[in-house]
């Protein structure tokens, strides 16, 4: 289950995932269960829900349209609060900044709570190379870290792991008794293991869910309390955020916190919604603002709205493709529907397959709490990838042939007739294993005549 999937595409990886159908069923049902919890939570707000999504979407749209001012407002307020603010143009610079802070404190160990941004920047690998030990403290993240993997879901990092496998992993790494698979027991094993880390590490990294331009504070949401344990026990707290996490005012948290946990897991709110405004007395607090392609995405009109994302994961849970292909098939830190419209912005060549890993069913856009038109952006990315020349030549040739046939009625009717004939006479020609349709599906039986032919025979207008 390694993550060195960078040279292959979604379809291939998804095919691999599908070789164990029982496991696909289990993965699908687990995530569908969360989708259902999300539905119940949304309905619990009744007629408040849809307007709330609308408001959240509009607040984000406004913020993005005034982002440069809000960033400066935020920076100033944060500095006044005693927070040191850093700016990173890309992942590399982000990693260097973090390492610089560690070096200044001679720190070679740290605890980190969940931050998809640090995943995006590959911070762990970077620090490891520099000899820094990073302990991920979110239980799910710790599990994938011990297994030398990456999260397969932004909210549920080890949703692809079974408890038997986790039991084995903990037995190997944390010394839990062999064969023990009880989730309570395993969780407690991790609790004891990580408690020791919290008590001994002097530096803590956290992510950021929301940052408030007006007050210079930032909010971190967890259920486990790991961000708080890390941050409050540390001498140095480093918070890392993408520049799109800003919202204008504190009161806007009312909107976003009502939506976030309900969309993510169906909870009314996460257990902890921690508002960090000033460092604790004697503590150092750093905040790294990261661009890493966001300003480019902001300039792409068709894709700008993807920056509204609050990383709730609802689009993952509802996506029928994600549920049946697993997070790693997306070969990028942020998988799922939203990842498929974010990744090509960073690297079209590497992620050209992702906008096609969808049926464009549109369920993602419907659950999205900030109303990102995800499926429309998937469609739009497909057009951009063609324009920019990232489609295979063979496909372009086939599409051109199709376009020619479909724009000439005479050609079309000949092609159709021919197609039906061939299929009727030699079913094996089309119905073979090289035809992906036929691998697990029968072809439709070709009829005697097309509708056009029938119409010509049976309706007056047809005798033209």
């Amino acid at each position: 289950m390694s993550n060195s999937n960078h040279h292959t595409d979604h379809a291939t990886l998804a095919e691999k995932f599908n070789r164990d159908e029982a496991r696909v069923n289990w993965h699908d049902e687990t995530l569908w269960f969360i989708r259902q919890k999300r539905d119940r939570a949304a309905w619990s707000l009744g007629n408040e829900w849809e307007p709330l999504r609308e408001t959240a979407s509009a607040i984000k749209a406004h913020t993005l349209s005034n982002l440069s001012d809000y960033l400066q407002q935020f920076e100033k307020a944060a500095q006044q609060n005693g927070i040191t603010v850093h700016w990173a143009a890309d992942g590399e610079e982000h990693n260097r900044i973090v390492h610089g802070i560690l070096a200044k404190h001679n720190a070679t160990q740290l605890v980190k709570s969940k931050s998809m941004l640090t995943e995006e920047c590959h911070l762990n690998d970077y620090l490891k190379e520099k000899g820094v030990e990073v302990i991920d403290t979110d239980l799910g993240e710790r599990i994938v870290q011990l297994a030398e993997e990456h999260p397969s879901h932004i909210v549920l990092p080890c949703i692809h792991w079974k408890k038997e496998e986790i039991g084995e992993l903990f037995h190997k790494h944390l010394g839990s008794p062999e064969g023990v698979i009880d989730p309570s027991f395993l969780t407690n094993t991790a609790r004891v293991h990580l408690r020791e880390k919290f008590l001994t590490r002097r530096v803590a990294i956290t992510g950021v869910n929301f940052a408030i331009a007006e007050t210079g504070e930032f909010v971190v949401c967890t259920n486990e309390g790991n961000a708080d344990m890390g941050a409050h026990l540390s001498d140095v707290h480093i918070a890392c955020m993408g520049i799109e996490k800003l919202i204008p005012k504190r009161e806007h948290l009312g909107v976003f916190l009502r939506l976030l946990a309900r969309s993510a897991t169906g909870q009314p709110i996460t257990t902890y919604s921690s508002h960090f405004k000033k460092p604790r007395e004697g503590q150092e607090m750093h905040l790294v603002l990261v661009d890493n392609g966001r300003s480019t995405q902001l300039g792409r009109e068709d894709f700008r709205n993807s920056l509204k994302c609050i990383r709730c994961g609802a689009c993952f849970n509802t996506c029928p493709v994600y549920r049946r292909s697993g997070g790693h098939s997306y070969h990028t830190a942020i998988a799922g529907p939203i990842g498929s419209i974010l990744a090509p912005n960073l690297d079209m060549r590497q992620y050209k397959d992702l906008p096609f890993a969808s049926t464009l069913c549109g369920s993602c856009s419907n659950v999205c709490p900030v109303k990102i038109n995800i499926h429309e952006q998937l469609y739009q990315w497909r057009q951009v990838l063609t324009e920019e020349g990232y489609q295979p030549k063979s496909k372009t040739v086939a599409m051109k042939a199709m376009a020619a046939t479909l724009s000439k009625p005479s050609l079309f009717s000949i092609a159709g007739k021919w197609g039906r004939k061939v299929m009727g006479l030699v079913p094996g020609l089309v119905s073979n294993r090289l035809n992906p349709w036929y691998k697990q599906r029968e072809m439709p039986a070709p009829p005697e005549q097309s509708f056009t032919e029938w119409y010509k025979q049976n309706r007056k207008g047809g005798k033209s």
């Binding site: 979604h10 379809a11 998804a14 095919e15 995932f17 599908n18 696909v24 699908d28 539905d39 309905w43 849809e50 029928p320 493709v321 049946r324 906008p355 096609f356 969808s358 049926t359 464009l360 069913c361 549109g362 369920s363 856009s365 419907n366 469609y379 497909r382 057009q383 990838l385 063609t386 372009t396 599409m399 199709m402 376009a403 046939t405 479909l406 724009s407 000439k408 009625p409 079309f412 159709g416 197609g419 039906r420 035809n435 992906p436 349709w437 691998k439 697990q440 599906r441 029968e442 439709p444 070709p446 009829p447 097309s450 509708f451 032919e453 029938w454 119409y455 010509k456 207008g461 033209s464």
Partner: protein
Amino acid sequence: MRVGLFIPCYVNQFYPQVGIATLQLLEKFGCEVDYPLAQTCCGQPMANSGYESLTGNCNELFTKNFSSFDYIVCPSGSCVLHIKEHLHSAKDRTAATAIRRNVYELTEFLTDVLNVDRLQAAFPYKVGLHQSCHGQRGLHLSQMSELVAKPYSKPERLLNMVEGLELIELDRKDECCGFGGTFCVTEEAVSVKMGKDRVRDHEAHGADYITGADMSCLMHLQGILKRQGSKVQVKHIAEILNAQ
């Protein structure tokens, strides 16, 4: 009322009976229907593959074929959605705009334009309705399970008018079947798995037939049903609403 009948390319070639049922239904309700013989396809297969740029000639042809009608009706939500969202014409902008506004999927035409509240149809079977995504989430033929909003369903309303027909409940009433145009071959594994799961849901609830407003989804499900040797069959909603 002059209605232009738009029959998707694959329906024309593989499922002529769906075209016939659509035509007969519309005629039953007194529409003056004409089927432009020079029609081919809406261009969606290319556009969804990223080649919307190649659909220009297709669009011009479509506009030419259908510019003279009050309404354009088609037994496929997916094709209608594509026309509604992407039909443009350099030669005749006004006509293209009018077509985008006047193109209807069959069940929404019966419900919203013809205000059908009674049908002369009988189909004494247990039927599962497959909500095709483009019809449902794109054209809003039915309420979507993701939204906190009052339920309704145009196809269900019509099916309930059919004598003897029993609509079954599903565990997942609007999950995608995995057809997805070229997705069905480029992502064969996931596509088939999605289809198998849809089929299982219908089978578990005792369906004799799976119906829907999009033959492409049904063709995909049919392919799986046949391969599995299932007794469950697929039938386009037009055929059921037209069944005697």
